[in-house]
Subunit: 141 residues, 4 copies
Amino acid sequence: MYEHEFHKRVRYAETDKMGYLYYGHYAKYYEIGRVEMLRSLDFTYREMEDELKVLMPVTSLKCRYVRPAYYDELLCIKTSLRELPGKFITFHVEIFNEKNKLVNGGTVRLCFVDSTSNKTVTAPAVLIQKLKPYFPDSETP
Amino acid sequence: MYEHEFHKRVRYAETDKMGYLYYGHYAKYYEIGRVEMLRSLDFTYREMEDELKVLMPVTSLKCRYVRPAYYDELLCIKTSLRELPGKFITFHVEIFNEKNKLVNGGTVRLCFVDSTSNKTVTAPAVLIQKLKPYFPDSETP
Amino acid sequence: MYEHEFHKRVRYAETDKMGYLYYGHYAKYYEIGRVEMLRSLDFTYREMEDELKVLMPVTSLKCRYVRPAYYDELLCIKTSLRELPGKFITFHVEIFNEKNKLVNGGTVRLCFVDSTSNKTVTAPAVLIQKLKPYFPDSETP
Amino acid sequence: MYEHEFHKRVRYAETDKMGYLYYGHYAKYYEIGRVEMLRSLDFTYREMEDELKVLMPVTSLKCRYVRPAYYDELLCIKTSLRELPGKFITFHVEIFNEKNKLVNGGTVRLCFVDSTSNKTVTAPAVLIQKLKPYFPDSETP
């Protein structure tokens, strides 16, 4: 298992007329969580796209909205991987407010696409290598 | 069952660097689908908020991303209700592209909150009345 | 002079905690205005990018916020061209609410870039041709 | 004069199909710049709204787009006040990329509105007090 935390503040642009963080913006918070998790492994999504020519389109998203998040709150995005990626990679996300109360929880699953052939591929070897130390009991998929 | 279709074009603002409709924007398409469905019943979300003092926060969202949607495509958002709302209301959404291929499918569940007391309530009677003709076999929840 | 009107409804996703259409979303309304104006001339921005390999990055934006726009209002985006495009094209935009009161006014200027060479170019000939009947006294720039 | 710098990374959600930071998102960067500038003075916009009951709607925005910003770039938002606020407050913004090249420059002007009376007011005294040390030659407006 690999886990990472990242903090992001709720901006006015993201609020709605209820005064809540609009429900559609959580997908962006999930994006930030997983990209910063990968960066913490010294693996950037930008380099994967530019150098490995691999894209990661989202294939499914699930979100539970537990309580509202409000303007200017500094939210904690907890992102975790529970298994090594293969054809897919699934990120588990929990978002907490400043009082450490759960605001939102969910999962997002992505696949890997070779941008040259436009075909799905398995996770890049370099990503597996960086993650393997955190999954000692896993066989390479 | 009550079903409604609404068309919306993919805007530049909504594309991402893959050239796809960004995955986080589908929640807004779902919002548009359900609001326009309610309007087709002569029931506006705006009036519900302003006159009945009832808000509808989202409690869960599920999305499957089947194929990409591209810039300037005129998407068809099909929204359906499969049962009368009670404490919750669940909208089923399917989004099709110009070739009538499924782009995205999912569900979004919302609850009803009295904005004066800030407590959850059941669906407003006026909404049930407008929907009832489409659910002849349902008992009032 | 060429003028075009297009209607767009304010969505929940676009409101902020003041209950206003967030000030940052007007740029998207301007985009919709100019793209639909071009479509009314039977010229689509999508084809220009795909077939002529010409992009139109924005070089400047000016906005005056006259009064708030509110949730669910059906706004009228009036877009006009006051001169034939050359190296640049300048769209004048006025946005009116349902009571025909001015909400927002501004201008946006874009240039033309050949996406193959990545160099700026003048407006595509086909666009000039479509616009010329509306500018009888203009010399071709 | 009071100046403040804040860093923000360009997210996938904010890119468009050209691969640029979409032109409409700069307004949000401007928002982040001014809110974080106020926070650096130990003055939060949230408290102003909640405790002083003062809102700050935007009255005008000017943006020059100098060069594109790209995905994952860590942009530096430089926000400055060149005079003490009175009925209006004008923020000057410059956004630089990782190579310290100017990406975007502009100004945004806001007014102050008492949310109880819905009337415009002058800048809150507490804000003037916090800013005054940086404007030694200014008379209180």
